[in-house]
C-alpha cells in the first residue's frame, strides 16, 4: 500500500477554519520558516480510508490469538482507554499549579499505593517511559547506593544466561561489567555458579522470576540472601509479573528494587512503540535516590524523564487495578498460569516442552527433534501459524533452548480458543511430517511472507526515501 505522503495531493485538505475575526499579525521574520512543512494534504475521506487500510494490514489482540511469549499480549479493557481519554486527564499541563491538578496527583498516589502493595516495595516513581528505561533507572539506584557508601569496588552485575537481552544491556549502559552465569538444567539459577560469581566486586543481581522459561525459581530466598550476604543488591525485572501479581511479592522474595511494565501487565496496548511506563519501585533505604518530579531538586536525585512520565498510562493502570480489585488481580495471574499449563498439556502430545514441569504464565517448546526428523524449524512452524490467523509465538528465545517457541496465552483467552490453538498445533505437527516443503514456504495466505531479514540487517534502509 502507499504511504500517506504518496497519497498527498497539493491543495487538498479537510480543515474548515472559521473566518478570522481579529486583526491578522505575523511572527517576526527570524521566527518564520522559509518553506511550508512537508505534511500530507488529504481529504477526510482519504485519510479515513488510509488508516482503515493500515488497520486491515496489522494484527493485534483485537484480531485474534497472540501468544507472543514474554510479551503478555493480553486484552486491554476499553474502560481503561475511556478513563485515560477524560478531558481532566488529557487537558492537564505538567506546569499547572498543584491546586489545579489534585485529581492527577490522586491518580499517581493511589497507583503508587496499590503497586507498592502488589510488589512489596515502599516507594515508586512513574518517570521511566518503558521497561528497559525502568531497568536503567533501577540499576542506577543500585549504583547510587554503592556510590553513596563510597563502595567504589562494586563494578559487576550478575545476569543469568536466560535473561532478557535488555538486562545485560542495562547493566552495561549503567557502567557495570556484566557477569553471565549459566542456568541449571531446569532453567533456574545455578546456586553454585552464583556463589562462584559473588564477591566484594558484586554490585547486584538482575533476575526475572518466574524466569524466561516460565519457571518459578524456588530457590529465590536463598538467591537473594546470597547476594545480600556478598554486599550486593537484588533487582527484579518485572517482565513476568503477570504470573504472580497479587499472589507473591518480589519485595518478600528479597528484592530491593523492581520495575513494572505498566503497559504490559496493567493494560495499555503495547508493542507499537509506546507510550509505555516502566514504574520503578524500591525498598525504603533506596527511596532517597528515586527520581521523583523534574521540578524537585535534591542531592543524589536522578531524573530520567520530564515530570511524572507518561501519565495517561498510569491512569490506565489505575483503572485496571480498580476494575479488577483485590480479588481480581490475583485471579488474573492464576488464570494466566492455568491457561499456559492447559495449553502446554494439550500440545505436549506432539511438540515437546523444553522443561517438562508445571509452568507459570508461559512455556517453551523445543523443536530440535522435529527439525532433525523433518527439517521443519521453529521459524517454519511460526510462519505456518500465520496462515491460521494466529500471531506466531516468540521464536529462538530464550537462547538456552535451541529451536525454541515460547507461548504465553495470557488470562484473557477462553478454553475454546486454547482448544482451537492446540488443534492447529496438532495439524502442523502432522503436516511437518507429511509435507515439510509446504511448511518451509509458509505463510501462503499472508500479505508479506518471508521478509529478507539478512538483507534488512546487513543493509538497512532506514529512510522512506532520500529527501
Amino acid at each position: 500500500m502507499k504511504l500517506i505522503f504518496e497519497k498527498s495531493v497539493p491543495g487538498r485538505g479537510c480543515s474548515l477554519l472559521p473566518a478570522c475575526d481579529v486583526e491578522e499579525t505575523s511572527l517576526p521574520e527570524n521566527l518564520r520558516r522559509a518553506t511550508a512543512p512537508a505534511l500530507p494534504e488529504m481529504s477526510e475521506t482519504d485519510i479515513s480510508r488510509h488508516y482503515t487500510e493500515l488497520c486491515h494490514n496489522t494484527y493485534g489482540v483485537n484480531c485474534g490469538f497472540y501468544p507472543l511469549g514474554s510479551c503478555t499480549m493480553k486484552y486491554n479493557p476499553r474502560i481503561d482507554e475511556e478513563m485515560a481519554a477524560l478531558p481532566g486527564f488529557t487537558g492537564v499541563h505538567p506546569l499547572a499549579p498543584a491546586h489545579a491538578t489534585m485529581g492527577c496527583q490522586e491518580v499517581l498516589n493511589l497507583t503508587k499505593k496499590y503497586l507498592c502493595e502488589i510488589t512489596g516495595m515502599d516507594d515508586m516513581t512513574f518517570q521511566p517511559a518503558a521497561g528497559a528505561h525502568g531497568e536503567f533507572t533501577g540499576v542506577l539506584l543500585i549504583k547510587q547506593y554503592h556510590d553513596a557508601r563510597g563502595d567504589a569496588k562494586r563494578k559487576k552485575i550478575i545476569v543469568p544466561d536466560s535473561a532478557h537481552g535488555t538486562n545485560p544491556a542495562t547493566a552495561a549502559m549503567c557502567g557495570f561489567e556484566v557477569v553471565n552465569i549459566a542456568s541449571s538444567p531446569d532453567g533456574c539459577v545455578d546456586l553454585e555458579a552464583l556463589k562462584a560469581a559473588l564477591n566484594d566486586e558484586t554490585a547486584g543481581l538482575m533476575l526475572t522470576n518466574p524466569n524466561t522459561v516460565g519457571v518459578f525459581d524456588e530457590n529465590i530466598l536463598e538467591i537473594t540472601h546470597l547476594v545480600h550476604e556478598a554486599g550486593g543488591l537484588c533487582y527484579y525485572d518485572g517482565a513476568n509479573l503477570n504470573a504472580i501479581m497479587g499472589v507473591v511479592r518480589p519485595g518478600d522474595m528479597g528484592f530491593d528494587c523492581i520495575h513494572v511494565n505498566l503497559h504490559k501487565t496493567f493494560a495499555t496496548p503495547h508493542g507499537g512503540g509506546g507510550p509505555g511506563a516502566g514504574a520503578v519501585g524500591c525498598k525504603g533505604f533506596l527511596a532517597k535516590f528515586l527520581p521523583q518530579s523534574a521540578s524537585m531538586q535534591g542531592d543524589g536525585h536522578i531524573q530520567v524523564r520530564g515530570f511524572a512520565g507518561n501519565f495517561l498510562v498510569v491512569v490506565k493502570a489505575l483503572t485496571y487495578l480498580m476494575t479488577l480489585g483485590r480479588e481480581g488481580i490475583p485471579e488474573a495471574a492464576q488464570n494466566a498460569v492455568l491457561n499456559a499449563n492447559y495449553l502446554m498439556q494439550k500440545i505436549r502430545n506432539t511438540f515437546q516442552p523444553a522443561f517438562d514441569r508445571t509452568c507459570m504464565h508461559e512455556f517453551v517448546l523445543n523443536l530440535e527433534q522435529l527439525k532433525k526428523d523433518t527439517g521443519v524449524s521453529a521459524l517454519d512452524v511460526a510462519k505456518s501459524l500465520i496462515d491460521y490467523g494466529m500471531h506466531p509465538p516468540t521464536m529462538y528465545f530464550p537462547l538456552i533452548v535451541h529451536e525454541a517457541l515460547m507461548l504465553e496465552p495470557t488470562e484473557t483467552e477462553s478454553k475454546d480458543t486454547l482448544d482451537w490453538v492446540a488443534e492447529v498445533f496438532r495439524k502442523l505437527y502432522e503436516l511437518a511430517h507429511e509435507d515439510p516443503e509446504f511448511m518451509r514456504a509458509a505463510p501462503h495466505n499472508a500479505r508479506i511472507g518471508r521478509p529478507d531479514e539478512v538483507r534488512a540487517a546487513r543493509n538497512p534502509v532506514l529512510r522512506w526515501r532520500n529527501v
Binding site: 537481552g165 530440535e368 527439525k371 532433525k372 521464536m395 529462538y396 537462547l399 535451541h402 531479514e453 539478512v454 540487517a457 546487513r458
Partner: protein, 125 residues
C-alpha cells in the same frame, strides 16, 4: 557438515589451526549452520590478550547473538577485519574465514580432534 582433520575444535564450536607457534581461530561449519546467516561480528583489537574459555567478541545472526569463546590464551597478533564488512564469509567458508591469530600461547581449553568433535556435534543435534 564439514570437519577438517587438520584442525582442533573447542566445545564452544571454535576451530584452531596451528601455524608454527601461532594459533589461527575461527568458528566451525556446525557453528555457522546453527547460527544461520551472520549479519554482524564484533572483533577484538590487534594486541589484546585473550584467555582460554573467555569471550573475545561476538557474532550476530538473524536468530541470535553469540559470544565467541577463545580456545587459547595468548596475545592477538592479527584480526581478520575483512569480516566486519563481509560477515557472510563466516557462512560461506567457515574454515577459510579465520577470525583472529594468537601468539605467545600459554594455555588452551580442552580441544577435540575432528572425529571427537563430530561426535560431540552429533550429540548436540
Amino acid at each position: 557438515m564439514n570437519y577438517p582433520v587438520d584442525l582442533k575444535y573447542s566445545k564452544s564450536h571454535e576451530w584452531v589451526k596451528m601455524d608454527g607457534d601461532v594459533a589461527v581461530i575461527g568458528i566451525s561449519d556446525f557453528a555457522q549452520n546453527a547460527l544461520g546467516d551472520v549479519v554482524f561480528v564484533n572483533l577484538p583489537q590487534d594486541g589484546d590478550s585473550v584467555s582460554a574459555g573467555e569471550s573475545f567478541g561476538d557474532v550476530e545472526s538473524v536468530k541470535t547473538v553469540s559470544d565467541l569463546i577463545s580456545p587459547v590464551s595468548g596475545t592477538i597478533c592479527q584480526v581478520n577485519e575483512a569480516l566486519l564488512d563481509a560477515p557472510e564469509k563466516l557462512n560461506q567458508d567457515a574454515y577459510g574465514a579465520w577470525i583472529m591469530k594468537v601468539k605467545n600461547l600459554d594455555g588452551e581449553e580442552e580441544l577435540l580432534d575432528a572425529a571427537a568433535y563430530e561426535a560431540f556435534c552429533a550429540q548436540e543435534g
